[in-house]
C-alpha cells in the first residue's frame, strides 16, 4: 500500500492569496501545492493522490463550481473546501449541495481554515481506507469459481445446505465443501460477516 503524505491543493486565480495560503500552511507543517486555475488543477490531478482541495468559487475561465462538477463526473473523492468572497453565499450553498466538504468566507481566521483542512484530510484518509478495504473484498470475491459464486448467492439468501444441494443438483457433501471454500477465500469469520462484506461491495445483492 502506498503511504503518500497528503497534499493540500490550493486553486485561486489571485497570486497573492495563493502564496499567503501556502505560507500559512507551511507554518503549520502542511504540504501545499498551488495552482492558478481550475483547468491546471484538473489536468494535473491524480485520483490516487491523497489530500484535499481549497478552491476559490469565482475564477475566470472554469469556475470553482464547474471544477467541482468535473470532479464529481470523474468520481473523484477529494474533499473540497470552498473559499468565497463576500456576496457569494448563493454559490456557496450550491457548492454544498453538490457535496462540498465545507466553505469559508475570505478573509478567514487562520485557525478556522486549518481546522477545516485537518478535518478534510481525516475524511479523505477514512474514505481512502474504506475504498482500499472494498477493493480487497472485491478481489477476494473475484477469486471464487462460478460454482462457488452460486453457493455464495444461496448463502446470502440464508438457504440451508439441504435446500442448496437440491437447487444446484449437488450432494450435500459437495455443497459443504464449496461453502467451506467460500468462507476460506473471502476470509470471512462468520456468515454474518460474509453477508456484510458482500453487501458492502455489491449492494445489488440485497435485492
Amino acid at each position: 500500500m502506498k503511504d503518500e503524505t497528503p497534499t493540500v491543493f490550493i486553486v485561486d486565480d489571485d497570486e497573492a492569496v495563493r502564496n499567503s495560503l501556502r505560507f500559512l500552511l507551511k507554518s503549520v507543517g502542511l504540504a501545499a501545492t498551488t495552482l492558478p486555475s481550475a483547468r491546471e488543477f484538473l489536468d494535473s490531478y491524480r485520483q490516487d493522490q491523497p489530500g484535499c482541495l481549497v478552491l476559490d468559487v469565482r475564477m475566470p475561465g472554469m469556475s470553482g463550481l464547474e471544477l467541482q462538477q468535473q470532479l464529481n463526473l470523474r468520481g473523484a473523492i477529494i474533499p473540497v473546501i470552498f473559499i468565497t468572497g463576500h456576496g457569494d453565499i448563493p454559490m456557496a450553498v450550491e457548492a454544498m449541495q453538490h457535496g462540498a466538504f465545507d466553505f469559508l468566507q475570505k478573509p478567514f481566521r487562520d485557525q478556522d481554515l486549518i481546522d477545516r483542512i485537518q478535518r478534510a484530510l481525516a475524511a479523505d484518509k477514512k474514505n481512502r481506507a474504506a475504498l482500499t478495504e472494498r477493493d480487497r473484498i472485491r478481489s477476494r470475491l473475484d477469486s471464487l469459481t462460478p460454482r462457488e459464486r452460486e453457493v455464495l448467492t444461496l448463502m446470502m439468501r440464508g438457504k440451508p445446505n439441504k435446500v442448496m444441494a437440491a437447487e444446484l443438483g449437488l450432494s450435500q457433501r459437495t455443497v459443504e465443501i464449496h461453502r467451506a471454500r467460500v468462507m476460506e477465500k473471502t476470509d470471512a469469520s462468520s456468515l454474518a460477516q460474509l453477508v456484510r462484506m458482500v453487501m458492502d461491495v455489491e449492494p445489488a445483492h440485497t435485492a
Binding site: 499567503s20 505560507f23 500559512l24 463576500h86 478573509p107 487562520d110
Partner: protein, 272 residues
Amino acid sequence: MHGTAEFQLKMKAPPAGGQEPGADSADKWHAEEEGRRLQGRIMHVSRLATIGEMAAGVAHEINQPLTAIATYAQACNRLLDLPEPDLAEVRDALREIASQAVRAGAIIRRLRNLVRRNDAPKAPSGINELIKELEELMQTDARVHDVRLRLELADGLPQVLVDRVQIQHVLLNLLRNALEAVAELPPGKREVVVRTARTEDGEVEMSVSDSGGGMTPEVAERMFDPFFTTKEAGTGLGLTISSTIIRTHKGALGHRPNLPSGVCFYVRLPSV
C-alpha cells in the same frame, strides 16, 4: 433620437474667450449657467450610480489583498510563537503584507478618481490612454460577471478634445450595458470587446461590442429615453446622459449590429 427632446439640457459653452456678456443677454447667460450646473450634478449622480453598480466587483477585488494580508499576518504570529522563529521568513511575509496593502490602496484610489467631481475643461487627449486608465476597473467588473473582456486599441490615432471623466463615464455606461446584454449566455460565450479605430472621415471611434442576443425593437426604440431601463436597479439615465455628453463633444453616439451576434455601440469624436 426621438423622445429625448424634453430631457435634453442645453449645454452651451460660456461666452467665448474673456468676452463680457452683454447686459441684455446677462439673464440668459445666468439661466444657461444654472442649467449647466444642474446638468453637472445630474451627470455626477449618474456617474455615482454607475460606480455603485460596480461596487460589488470592487469589493471583491479589495477582498483579495485583504485576504492575503490577514493570512500572512496570522502565519507570522504562528512563526513567532516557535521557540526559534525564522526571522527571514517573517520578514518575507511582512514585505508581502506591505505590498498587498499598497495594492488595496491602489484599487480604492482608482475608484476615487472616478467619483471625484470634475469640472476640468476639455483638453486634447489620447482615447486609448483614457481607456487604459479604466482597464483594471473594467476587467474587475467583467470578471465578476464571468465575461471575457478584450481591448483592441488601434495605433496612431489622432487626439480628441474631451473632458476625460465624462468620456470615461460614457465608456463605463456602454460597458455595463454590454455586460448586461451577455448575462443570459453561458459563461464561456460571454464576450465584450472595446475597440478604437479611425473612421473614413478621420474621426476617432470608440466602440463596445457584445456577443449577446441583440436588442428587441422596443428596446432599440426607447433606449435613449430618460428613465427607460431594462436593468433591475438601473436609473434609466445611462444612455440618455451618454448621448448628451457626446453631443456636447460635437460627436455622435450610435449603434449597429455586431457580427456574428450582439450589438456594437460606438462613439465618434472629431479629432483635434
